[in-house]
Amino acid sequence: MKELTELRSIVDKYGENPEYILEALHDIQSRYRHVPEPALDIIAERMKVKKSRVFSLVSFYKALSFEPQGEKNIRVCMGTACHLKGASQVKEEIEAVLDVAAGETTADGRYSLHEVNCVGACSMAPVVIIGDSYEGQATRDRVRTLLDNDGSEEESR
């Protein structure tokens, strides 16, 4: 119930104009780390559009997902500059450390690993973004150390 009320209040901010579907979905995604099913009905009703249109937007845009994302997103840049400088190897290392494939979330729900097509930080290639923190000139060793420390930091807290 609480979730429904909260969802409604997020959607209500944008009024009836269906132009704001994407903005509302962005807010919902960042609040819940995914778009919960009831959100589709609430948006469809409030903005007077078919539920299928809301559904199609969630499936079309990469920033939105039906599957819950991990607490932290790890984004490996696959832009051209990063590709040339070994982004695939860095990605494979993260996949090995976390035991997930790109696009998946770890079993404990802590991390989601994503390949992204250029984050516009090409001078630091290859780039990995862990949470909000940019790691430039990433190497296999560097990402392994970062991920190992990322875990211990949080456990000691």
Binding site: V49, Y61, A63, A81, H83, E92, V116, A121, T139
Partner: protein, 620 residues
């Protein structure tokens, strides 16, 4: 703040310009420098001064975190004005010396200066070869202005162009000036901006709109990000002038979701401009001139950089391109005439109004006037953001500005124009970089990504990279693009895994041409450019993959092998520890890799302290 009228604005502008403190400490807050800790450098400088002058002041210098200075490989960067002293690789421990010796003592700290390839120290940034050949119009304020303070923008002459346009020029005059400047759109296709605005102004419609395309999706490009984060008011001012010219009262800045800082800075800038009466209703007290501007986030879809897809996305629909038989200038957002331009295009407009169309048209080459920003990345010595006059040759850009190829390697190709562009080989190094010359050579200007490649880059792999990028990003609406990319990727997957056939290249060419002719939007029509351009300039590399089952650059996994150089190997055993399939054998102190079991992950090579393990092409 009260909303200004035109006559108050001129007074306010003069005040800010006179008041501006010429003594400034500028700490680069571009993404590269931030990631290397420039925020801590800024704080350390304030700490060193004891924070006596209040926040934002060091001795009598105004201290600012500013946008990207461009020379990203040397960051974090600190510049001290008015001298232009340029410190590179600055860390917080260096702050006390900068404070005591330079800011208080007026002396340059030699050790912190930029060092050229020959070891010569250069004190002023204007004397560094990377900056010497540049000319900044779109980036004129980036790195100099505090992006979060409208007063600082006004102190640099900001919004004077908008005020001048409103006071002295009719909307038709503005369009005439932009036409006379011969400015062409900086987003890629290079359509004349003035003509677009004229069509928009004259098209029938109830409302008109101005939209800035900040959905910078080309991999390897970050010009627009730098402008939006480093100088948001230039974009606002350019859009305001555009709105006046075409008669729009509403506008949008569509920013890709991956740029949250740009969204924040733009929203902040819009709020400040509104409170000063530079946006909103009755701008600068002129009754009836209203321009309301808002920022919208994209959803993480490359195709939304295409104008009509962007408009669909803005309207709350799928970001799929519309048929190109009606242009947005006639029927765009909400079916109304819409002037949709790239961020960089709008940013150039205030300078054209300030300095006149003839000034702008005198810069650049015959059919491409003015300057262009590029993100120079990949294997160049200096990587970062640059702005040079159109018509400069690729050689000058890569060697004079970029300092040549890193690690003494050899230039092999430069990729321009993102996924719609192509790769040009060494014989094109003297090509002047402008819209038409690049297109004739089989590439295109695009938004300005320049990716430099050396002999360690496999061109077949690069083409395959773009194909798989585009296959993932194709909206899927039309068959030639969707299925064409799917089939091309499948063929390329075969070629790079050593199963290519002689007939593949003909099939690739046939598919590529079908996509050019049959796709709905510009992105689909140009999607085969990376394939066609690499085939044209690097055909030998394709045949090596297909006939000899060999990757000359040593990149394609299935065709290469890791080998241990026995001369260099010290038998330390580090590689044994890291090898996931445990395929390294030791016999009497000699290490060898079992090629059958090896997965070519590269872990051993990365771990080897003696650089004894390398990847070799052409081993079969």
């Amino acid at each position: 703040m009260t909303r200004l009228h035109l006559k108050d604005f001129w007074r306010y502008s003069k005040q800010q310009m006179e008041k501006r403190n010429e003594q400034r400490v500028l700490v680069c807050g571009g993404p590269g420098c931030l990631a290397r800790g420039s925020q801590a450098v800024y704080e350390a400088l304030l700490d060193a001064s004891g924070r006596v002058g209040g926040t934002g002041t060091v001795v009598e210098h105004a201290a600012h975190m500013v946008g990207c200075h461009g020379l990203c490989d040397q960051g974090p960067l600190v510049i001290i004005e008015p001298q232009g002293t340029f410190y590179t690789h600055v860390n917080p421990e260096m702050a006390p010396r900068i404070y005591h010796e330079t800011l208080r003592g007026g002396r340059v700290v030699e050790d912190f200066l930029y060092s050229s390839g020959t070891g010569r120290r250069i004190a002023r940034y204007a004397d560094i070869p990377f900056y010497q050949r540049q000319q900044k119009i779109a980036l004129r304020n980036v790195g100099a202005v505090d992006p979060e303070d409208i007063n600082d923008y006004v102190a640099l002459g900001g919004y004077r162009a908008a005020a001048k346009a409103l006071e002295d020029l009719s909307p038709e005059d503005v369009i005439g000036w932009v036409k006379d400047s011969q400015l062409r759109g900086r987003g890629g296709a290079g359509f004349p901006t003035g003509r677009k605005w004229e069509v928009c102004a004259q098209a029938p419609g109830e409302n008109r709109y101005v939209i800035a395309n900040g959905d910078e999706g080309d991999p390897g490009a970050f010009m627009d990000r730098t402008i939006m984060e480093g100088d948001p008011h230039s974009l606002l001012e350019g859009m305001m002038i555009g709105a006046y010219a075409v008669g729009a009262s509403e506008g949008f800045i569509y920013v890709r979701e991956e740029y949250p800082l740009a969204v924040e800075r733009l929203k902040g800038a819009i709020g400040q401009a509104e409170s000063l009466g530079l946006l909103g209703d009755d701008i600068l007290g002129i009754p009836g001139f209203c321009f309301n501007l808002s920022v919208r986030r994209g959803g993480g879809a490359f195709v939304c950089g295409e104008a009509t897809a962007l408009i669909n996305s803005l309207e709350g629909r799928l970001g799929e391109p519309r048929g190109s038989y009606v242009v947005p200038a006639v029927r765009g957002y909400n079916q109304q005439p819409t002037a949709l331009n790239n961020v960089e295009t709008f940013c150039v407009i205030p300078e054209i109004i300030n300095k006149g169309p003839a000034w702008f048209a005198a810069i650049g080459s015959e059919a491409s006037r003015g300057t262009k920003t590029f993100s120079l990345v990949g294997r160049a010595v200096h990587i970062g953001l640059i702005e040079v006059p159109m018509g400069m040759s690729l050689r000058e850009i890569i060697y004079d500005v970029g300092g040549g190829i890193e690690d003494g390697r050899t230039f092999k190709a430069v990729q321009t124009g993102g996924p719609s562009g192509g790769c040009l080989s060494a014989e094109y190094l003297d090509l002047p970089v402008d819209f038409d010359a690049l297109e004739e050579a089989g590439s295109m200007m695009g938004s300005g990504g320049l990716i430099v490649m050396d002999e360690t880059t496999c061109m077949v792999d690069v083409a395959r990279y773009f194909l798989s990028f585009l296959r993932d990003e194709s909206c899927g609406q039309c068959v030639p693009c969707r299925e064409g990319l799917f089939q091309l990727t499948a063929i390329f997957d075969r070629i790079v895994s050593g199963e290519g056939q002689e007939s593949d290249l003909a099939a690739v060419e046939e598919l590529a041409v079908a996509m050019q002719e049959g796709s709905l939007c510009g992105l689909g029509q140009s999607a085969s450019n990376p394939v066609l351009s690499t085939l044209r300039h690097f055909r030998g590399e394709y045949t090596a993959h297909i006939r000899e089952k060999c990757c000359p650059a040593g990149v394609c996994r299935a065709l290469t092998a890791y080998v241990i150089d026995v001369e260099r190997c010290r038998a330390c055993g580090r590689c044994l520890e890291v090898c996931p399939p445990q395929c390294i054998a030791v016999s009497q102190g000699v290490y060898t890799i079992d090629r059958e079991a090896c997965t070519r992950c590269g872990a051993c090579s990365a771990a080897c302290p003696f650089a004894a393990i390398s990847r070799e092409g052409c081993v079969q």
